[in-house]
């Protein structure tokens, strides 16, 4: 139970953990030490529960971005029985920020597409920290068409700060590919499940986010703009990011209230980064149950329900008298 967190709002927990570790290091422990250990362990659990039940939006962002949080590849290893990676967009390149391939989950053969952030610095740089280029979205679309052709349900894992903002990304049509991908997904003739596993950063997230079901992990966020970006524009300084985070209402609970997501998948105590295995099992259970529901539905029905699902999103006033 070493300190892997580094989150400032978990300082109490870190402190408890170091006390626990100190006692655990003693090879011979007195009765008194044993009971102290039990107390400390209970206190740690209580404190973690308390903290995670009351996370602010800004704290949620810190958890969603945690360097030990499981990424798409971790779930492919832990929740799936097999993953056969398929590279390349057959057009320009192989974007490492977008992972894709065949996978098996329980009795289902599926196509998985997901943002990948990378664990080591080298991996992170190769993945552009999870920010896909146009070739990433083209790769995703190519695999989507493949999934449609062979009737493989599609699973999309969303985990990106946003689509990459760069010169080459613009030259290769970043806006175009995100638009095309939503356009394609809206009528793709196979079931689609989307899960926000960490960061749901704006258009880059929505580019693989149009599905029959959209779920979020408990401590993920999904936003029209990053809190820093919003603070920079509306408050004129990135320092107001915590304020912007509250104002944007982007936690799983908020999105559930707005009717944007169907399901919040609970995380293990203290966040997904504390227990990859348990998180993967919870995700697997959700996916398996949902695949069971969706794969029995006639495709035309699936598509019309998918259309209506997004069609009803938004809030406005309809004035009766005007016209």
């Amino acid at each position: 139970m070493s300190d892997t967190s580094g989150l400032d709002f978990e300082r109490d927990v870190t402190e408890l953990e170091s006390q626990i570790a100190a006692i655990e290091r003693q090879t011979v422990r007195s009765e008194e030490a044993e009971s102290r250990l039990r107390e400390l362990r209970l206190a740690r659990v209580d404190r973690l529960r308390e903290i995670y039940m009351n996370l602010s939006s800004w704290q949620t962002v810190q958890v969603a971005r945690h360097k030990n949080r499981p990424y798409t590849r971790d779930y492919l290893n832990l929740a799936f029985d097999e993953f056969v990676e398929l590279h390349g967009d057959k057009f320009f390149g192989d974007d490492r920020a977008m992972l894709s391939g065949f996978a098996k989950l329980d009795r289902f053969k599926v196509m998985v597409i997901g943002h990948q952030k990378g664990r080591t610095y080298k991996e992170r740089a190769a993945c552009h920290f999870g920010c896909a280029h146009p070739e990433g979205y083209r790769k995703a679309m190519q695999k989507m068409r493949m999934a449609e052709k062979y009737r493989l349900p599609l699973i999309c894992f969303i985990d990106t700060p946003g689509a990459f903002p760069g010169k080459e990304a613009e030259e290769r049509g970043q806006a175009q590919v995100i638009a095309e991908s939503m356009f394609l997904m809206s009528r793709l003739r196979t079931p689609i499940i989307c899960v926000v596993i960490g960061e749901g950063g704006s258009g880059g997230a929505l580019g693989i986010g149009v599905g029959d079901r959209v779920a979020m992990l408990e401590n993920s966020y999904y936003s029209v703009i990053s809190p820093e970006g919003c603070a920079g524009i509306l408050w004129k300084s990135h320092e107001f990011a915590p304020k912007a985070a509250e104002a944007l209402r982007f936690t799983a609970k908020d999105l559930s209230k707005f009717g944007v997501i169907d399901k919040i998948i609970p995380e293990p105590l203290g966040g997904a980064h504390r227990d990859h295995h348990q998180m993967a099992m919870r995700l697997k259970n959700y996916l398996s149950a949902t695949l069971g529901e969706l794969t029995t539905q006639p495709t035309d029905e699936l598509l019309s329900v998918r259309y209506e699902k997004f069609r009803q999103m938004g809030e406005l006033i309809e004035e009766p008298s005007v016209g």
Binding site: S223, I225, I317
Partner: protein, 317 residues
């Protein structure tokens, strides 16, 4: 946004109240100082028309940002807001755009009964609900898009135009809903669809995730329209950025752009901050997009109406 107060044809105020609003209450978002993120919000002002001191009435002369010449305001206005010296395309309000593109008196506005609300109870330095009222007074619009049916050289079309002066032409629930209804109407009636986009804001952050979802909603409606064989002509004007560029604006069967418009996903300032290199002079302009293969034609404003009509004829609609 900067362009509204200082161009040859400002958003038509509905009375002295709005003139006051225009003088003192503009710039709900001043993107110039912001540095945005990877989601394509415009973070610096588009090539803006000449700055006007607040409270000073519209002058006789304006300085063109294209050629830096001082030009006679009335002459610019008489040329569809195009600079007589360098063909710089100034801002055009949604209302003026209707008059420029549709046959006289043929526009039947639809969905005006849909009005914005404040689902997040959003407040930055100012509540969104107040901002909406101020923007409505200042621009004379109810939200950032006009939608309806009209004629283009006697061809009946479904028509929409966004106004980049209304909260940067950003797309919230009302813009998304009006567009989705228009697209569905065009699908049912087998009408060609023309959308003229101008948006420095992309998705409207004041409505949070609901704005983002409008991108999916309108794109899905366009996918159905496409499936029914409908012809969609998308016209990009200065600026078309972020979530608007990354949804309906990029999905035309034909994509036209006015000359030298700023068009792209991420704002140039964000890109510079991210990759730390100098960007080419023509970066994210219509000409840049044409060169890289993302638009079909650059069309000057005086030719827009006949170009649209001709394309409709080619497509047999």
């Amino acid at each position: 946004m900067v362009s509204a107060q200082s161009n040859p044809n400002p958003p038509s105020p509905t009375g002295p109240e709005s003139a006051l609003a225009a003088a003192g209450e503009v710039a709900p978002i001043t993107p110039g100082t912001a540095s945005s993120v990877a989601d394509g919000r415009l973070d610096e002002p588009p090539a803006s028309p000449v700055q006007k001191k607040r409270g000073v009435p519209e002058g006789l002369w304006i300085k063109c940002p294209g050629c830096s010449e001082t030009v006679y305001r009335k002459e610019v206005a008489g040329r569809l807001n195009v600079c007589p010296k360098c063909d710089y395309h100034f801002y055009v309000s949604a209302t003026d755009r209707v008059a420029q593109v549709l046959d006289d008196g043929t526009f039947e506005p639809m969905y005006e009964e849909l009005r914005p609300t404040d689902p997040l109870n959003f407040a930055d330095r100012r509540p969104y609900s107040e901002r909406l009222i101020a923007e409505q007074r200042r621009t004379g619009l109810t939200d950032a898009v006009l939608t309806g049916i009209g004629m283009i050289r006697a061809r009946r079309v479904a028509f929409a135009v966004t106004d980049s002066a209304f909260i940067m032409g950003s797309m919230g629930s009302v813009v998304g809903e009006r567009l989705a209804r228009l697209v569905e109407h065009a699908t049912q009636q087998c009408l060609p669809l023309i959308i003229i986009s101008g948006s420095g804001g992309g998705a409207r952050m004041h409505e949070g995730i609901l704005s983002l979802m409008q991108m999916a909603k309108v794109s899905a409606a366009l996918a159905r329209y496409h499936g029914s064989g409908g012809l969609y002509i998308s016209v990009l004007t200065n600026p078309t950025m972020g979530g608007v560029a990354a949804s309906f604006a990029s999905l035309g069967d034909l994509v036209f752009a006015e000359p030298k418009a700023l068009i792209g996903f991420a704002g140039p300032r964000t890109i510079k901050a991210t990759i730390g290199i100098e960007l080419p002079e023509d970066f994210q302009t219509s000409e840049f997009l044409l060169k890289h293969g993302y638009i079909d034609r650059i069309v000057t404003r005086p030719n827009l109406k006949s170009e649209i009509a001709r394309a409709i004829d080619y497509c047999g609609k």
